[in-house]
Symmetry: C2
């Protein structure tokens, strides 16, 4: 989930200045419209200390007309607040129609910290998240625009930031002992935050995860997101059909895919040996999983010609044919179309001890159906939460879930297409659609980026596979799948 915010995205001063002037004017114009509108805007800032939450809130106050902004930050509840239900202090502070409310350490802060420090159980934590969800839906049903920003730094980045602040006599006061205490619990904090974000990332109150390491980048990202969402909501409330935005994250030049080292290869001489060892390892683990009745789902997505089929055949070959099944996912049948889009995946889940391998999967909703317009925006936007919930059910049942994205560069894809075109017996593999999809590379890449951001989690992470070298990819996939089984078997 946080992979996308650890790419070290940066914006130069020149680029920032070039974008900022217009954005600021546009935002002021939108705020002017908002004042006449029939809804409030609620913006929450959460995230890692030092990732620029306060600075961003200050910047918004500076850029916009502060008369119509309400800024609130919360400490531990006062005695007066402690005497009321825990939401009382937020209830009172909600912005009214036409206002923008900026919330620091809002309703997520205490449940998250209390869970990190073991003061509340996971059940109580889930109860509170459920209430938060209900609360946000109530506000959204009433028309409120809700934006939630997770300002992120990785562990090293946070240490660097806190140390730098401490070294600056003018800013040293910003770093407290509590910040360092929290830093020591970084892993637990991040795991808890991930759980909270997944449970509360709904289509009417979305989380945006922002790389906080570069001030200019994070500022522009937040303000651009606010701008786009506000513009859209004003259109919607005025019963205008909002313009469909390009799927590409506005400022992000680097996607999670562009961060992969695509030069990785495996030595041709050692390939057979490594493959054999990896397969033997996987076979052993799969047999043990079968014995213990643990079932698995492995799904494969990737660019056309990225080598999904070949990789799947290598995986399948390592497994007992009686205990695994490969399901190729094509366009839905008439019967499948008459059901919810998840129905065709619900139907054939593996029984105990079996492994199901999907060649393409439910993620089609967020990839081809999104980019090609087969699903309406409200449909695929809903799908993130629907898929997260579906996968939670699989994990809750004790299943293993492995998700692979096979990546190749556009150049490599072109080479492979050309080769197919040239080689008669490979020609059937190449259709006009393949060439068409290629022209939408950028849109697909942005969709993959967002898919990883919003559906990758510690329990069901996306494995991004560098696939320019097919052999390298195959070995990495088999090893990764084996590791996932190993982890699951170690748990019970």
């Amino acid at each position: 989930m946080f992979e996308t915010a650890e790419l070290g995205a940066k914006i130069s001063r020149e680029a920032f200045d070039a974008a900022a002037g217009k954005l600021r004017l546009d935002l002021l114009a939108l705020q002017e419209k908002l004042r006449q509108a029939d809804f409030p805007v609620i913006v929450l800032f959460a995230g890692v200390d030092g990732a620029g939450k306060t600075e961003t809130v200050n910047l918004i106050n500076e850029w916009l007309d502060p008369h119509w902004i309400v800024t609130r930050a919360y400490e531990a509840p006062s005695q007066e607040e402690g005497e009321r239900p825990s939401f009382w202090r937020y209830w009172r502070d909600l912005p009214k129609c036409g206002q923008i409310g900026l919330f620091l350490s809002g309703w997520y802060s205490r449940p998250v910290l209390q869970h990190v420090y073991g003061e509340i159980s996971t059940a109580e934590f889930d109860y509170r998240l459920d209430h938060i969800k209900t609360f946000e839906r109530l506000l959204a049903d009433d028309g409120a625009l809700i934006l939630k920003f997770w300002m992120h730094l990785d562990k090293k980045g946070q240490k660097k930031r806190l140390t730098a602040l401490e070294a600056d006599p003018l800013q040293a006061w910003k770093v407290t002992k509590k910040d360092w205490r929290n830093w020591k619990r970084y892993e637990s904090f991040i795991a808890t935050a991930e759980h909270a974000i997944r449970r509360t990332d709904t289509s009417h109150a979305r989380w945006a995860i922002v790389d906080g390491s570069d001030e200019r980048f994070r500022s522009l990202t937040v303000l651009q997101t606010l701008h786009d969402a506000l513009e859209r909501q004003l259109d919607l409330r005025a019963h205008k059909r909002p313009a469909v935005k390009t799927a590409k994250p506005a400022l992000l030049k680097a996607s999670v895919l562009s961060a992969l080292d695509m030069t990785q290869t495996v030595d041709k001489n050692s390939y057979e040996q490594e493959l054999q060892e990896a397969r033997a390892d996987l076979a052993l683990l799969a047999r043990e999983a079968h014995k213990r009745g643990i079932s698995s789902v492995a799904l494969f997505e990737g660019w056309d010609a990225a080598g999904k089929g070949g990789a799947i055949r290598r995986v399948a070959a390592a497994l007992d044919a009686r205990h695994r099944q490969v399901v190729p996912v094509a366009a839905p049948t008439d019967e499948e179309k008459a059901h919810h889009y998840l129905w065709r995946f619900w139907r054939h889940l593996p029984r105990a001890g079996h492994m199901l391998i999907y060649d393409r999967s439910w993620y089609g909703r967020l990839l081809v159906e999104r980019v090609e317009g087969f699903a309406r925006p409200e449909e695929w936007e809903r799908a993130y939460a629907e898929i997260n919930d579906f996968e939670d059910q699989l994990l809750h049942h004790g299943m293993v879930l492995a998700k692979f994205w096979l990546h190749i560069t556009p150049e490599e894809q072109y080479k492979r297409f050309a080769e197919r075109d040239a080689v008669a017996y490979k020609k059937w593999k190449l259709t006009d659609e393949d060439w068409r999809n290629r022209s939408k590379w950028d849109a697909y890449e942005a969709a993959v980026h967002e898919m990883v951001e919003r559906t990758s989690s510690a329990a069901a992470p996306w494995d991004l596979i560098e696939g320019n070298d097919k052999n390298f990819a195959r070995i990495k996939i088999i090893r990764s799948l084996a590791d996932r089984l190993r982890q699951r078997l170690a748990r019970t």
Copy 2:
């Protein structure tokens, strides 16, 4: 919650035959339309054993074209089902577009029974309910029409029913040992069911609570509800604005209000004595609650001229003026209108040890705003869940919540209005609006009936007060409020 289904509603054979013929033809016509439509219908039957779940499902199959009906009933999971996530068997059985799926012992059944028998914790129960909610929303977002019927019998009624079935040689097989075992846990079963219904009664998947004691009544109620919902959904999906239905439950002649014994009075000679004793009791308990920091909310709703003001003054007089506050709720101010309708109630919640008395309350949303059209149907339909969640937060915080509906008969109201008109110093109390509201008595009564059905719970029940005799009402209110405090104080 179940008060409304324990009124012993009956329909005569003649009335049934008169209604059934047309209803059946209308339903068949709707089913014909549904076959061409782009959504499925999902109907769940839950409730007390013996309340006619199976019989109703059979009747639907008899009345409609069974080719387009899927009927499913579930036992304990088979081995094959146990090997998959618990929802797998429902996932597979979902009806497709154009079909009606009838589910007996569906997804609520196992969590409820497991909770009743202590096999799962309340936290796990809540987790499952949360998942059910998410699942139903996913289906509804996709267009599905979801109806959930709770077929009800009170404890005595169930015993009578099971005994009667056992006595009939042709039907004795229907009663199993399990039924009697469940019957012994009736109270626990009902409490668990109430919790489940409250948590999952959403505007897109509503529960209907049906009095199961009379076969003709329950059959017509279910089929009429199915008819109305199907007609509405067909209109909605065809982008037609559905006709606004009258608020009155179609077949219910008797409301919870009509079941009250309005002849109750208190002896004039003993009134002062009884009042003094009740007030002394309340005062003592309120002092203890103050000492312990337990806060309370008491809210009053009722017909115009039902005597709310007088009753509130009597309650307030028993309490320490420093520790209680009376808040009269009038039409919202401009500022209040610019917020969510609950905002004005969120603002002034009592601090620890204090009691807040609302003269009218958030229930205005479900009463005057509904009946007068100040709130749109989708707004007040949402409000049941919103209010239940809000009150849950108060209870979760440990507050006492008392809700009073002051009832008078139309004749008594007329008498009081006429009296006000005649007595100069009471004249200001009577406005044109009072006379206007009077003409909508039936619509208000239906709204009150549904409000009680959907927002009364064991932890925050509605107290329906027989108010034709003002003195009787005042004493009953003070005693009831005292009892509520007493129960809360006994808990810790």
